[in-house]
Symmetry: C2
């Protein structure tokens, strides 16, 4: 499982030469938590950064059963046919993924996975959403440096993962399916408000009529809410991966979106805002990670935790003492290094 | 608006003597963000801590219109009549509260506000939920030290504020009202799962019958879900503040809850867990507050933000540089202090 030791230059060269093995190994490096790998990954990302940003980044979400993987396979295969290189990534913070389910992911997109212009990478293994999202975002950048034109990020998990994906993509697609129950039931309104397009999927056979009705209902509702992207009216569409219908039209919508948002400057502005938001989120996570990994904090923790739990030490004072320990320990470390 | 300068001993003595003016001024001190006040408040809380913890802490939530303030007034007045001292606090992170609405709060609980055994304090003024909740929690401790037997914390805001209140109380009450629409419509399931009791309020006049039906529906549903408190079956009750019905029964439920959870140890265990959770939340907030208030970070921020936004500096590296600046600045400061 341990990969061969490489220099940052080797990783960078491999990615820029569009070597798939090196691309996969670079993403593994990024996902690694070992201190040496973290430093190496930081250097690799720094060198790759000038080559990133040229793709269109597409997020795909939707309830279980809406056919997210099927759509990504169909859209991805279509785009490979158009000559594009496609990377499909996913975010699934909830489940610790075993080898089996990693293969499972690839099996689900069997056709796309075999295509030489496609690269499929499942979610980084288990962890908090923050860490999983960070790794996926960095994997996206590495794929861009390796020449992928379209990056598709699928949310596998539920809840907050939609927000995390919206925060890293240009275009956010919500998949819906025809439901036996109420028309707009079971749809989280908050997710609709994040979407740049809604695709009513599996609109084939006897579902065609119901899909059109749902499309009308969505479009009426979408006119009443604030669009996810300034200057872009989110609309509902119908499509079927099974019948290969509405796929080319979906891509036309995405291209229109990119052209229009590039023209108004919204595209670049969102990317800049996303990067800065990202930095702030990372600062928050990293401050905590360093605090809890700090040796002096770890030494003092049990006694302080017990005192706070028993009500003999006020929370405010406990925090103050722990923060002083944390911050002063950096001073000491640096002092030692300087000597 | 500036209060007279006092020593921590004066605040502590005033609170322990159950002086209402000093209690109010101590809470104002706790809510203050000025560095001198922060240190003073920490010292006051440290001295008051041994006198805290003897109350029952009750959280009250419910949709707008369910009659939260009316219930608190009716329950509070009843408890004053039983000889208890009642403090009513509130959490409203969403709205910047002007003088008008502070008075508004008191007017809403006019009768209770005039009672010599009651102390009413509206939500700390505007701010993020974290800060508002911390101040309310500390205000609760000060009220306990001032001899209040029952602390009622009302959530005025929506969304996350229920979770924040649940995290600081022993007993969490959800108010519901009879709705014209579907029986369980508009109720956030997540909030039900936090509740130790559900009171169907305004169960009077022509609502009586509907309230009973809603009670049955809730009780059926409550049997299917995990209770909020281990070993305590959450149930639905009916009541009316207008007719003063179900109020004494509600207090009986709360007393049963306290007796039962004290017996099993759940009561003390939850308080210990809450204090430790609280510490961790405060650590997270305080780390960020200190980071963004740091002079070196503030100086470097504009250039780094611009570089990250334009895509010329990787987020990982930006964070690493900013954290180094933050941590090393503490070293320098300490060095200077020592000289």
């Amino acid at each position: 499982k341990r990969m061969p030791s490489r220099t940052s230059d080797e990783f960078v060269k491999g990615v820029l030469q569009q070597n798939r093995t090196m691309l996969a190994q670079t993403i593994t490096l990024i996902e690694s938590g070992s201190p040496a790998d973290v430093l190496l990954a930081q250097d690799v990302l720094r060198q790759l950064l000038p080559y990133t940003g040229k793709s269109i980044r597409i997020g795909v979400t939707g309830p279980p059963g809406a056919g997210k993987s099927t759509l990504i396979e169909t859209l991805g295969t279509y785009l490979c046919g158009c000559g594009f290189k496609i990377a499909a990534l996913s975010i699934d913070p909830s489940s610790p993924r075993a080898k089996g389910s990693i293969l499972g992911d690839k099996t689900r997109m069997e056709k796309l996975a075999r295509h030489p212009q496609a690269f499929i990478r499942p979610s980084p293994s288990k962890g908090a959403l923050g860490g999983v999202a960070r790794k996926t975002r960095e994997a996206m950048l590495v794929c861009e440096a390796a020449g992928y034109d379209v990056i598709i990020v699928e949310t596998v998990g539920v809840g907050q993962s939609e927000t995390a994906v919206r925060a890293m993509v240009d275009f956010f697609l919500l998949l819906q399916m025809i439901d036996a129950g109420d028309e707009l039931q079971g749809i989280k309104k908050g997710v609709i408000e994040l979407a740049d397009a809604i695709l009513i999927h599996k609109a084939d056979g006897k579902n065609r009529q119901a899909a059109r009705q749902l499309q009308v209902a969505f479009n009426q509702w979408l006119h009443l809410i604030q669009p996810a992207t300034t200057g872009w009216q989110t609309k509902a569409y119908t499509g079927s991966s099974l019948c290969n219908e509405g796929i080319r039209e979906l891509w036309d919508v995405i291209r229109d979106f990119k052209r229009e948002t590039l023209r108004t400057g919204t595209f670049e502005r969102r990317r800049a805002d996303q990067a800065i938001d990202w930095m702030q989120t990372t600062i928050k996570e990293e401050l905590q990670a360093r605090f809890y990994a700090n040796r002096k904090v770890q030494e003092a923790w049990p006694a302080i935790e017990a005192a706070v739990g028993s009500g003999s030490l006020p929370v405010r004072q406990a925090v103050s003492e722990l923060l002083d320990l944390f911050l002063s320990s950096h001073r000491d470390k640096r002092d030692v290094e300087e000597k």
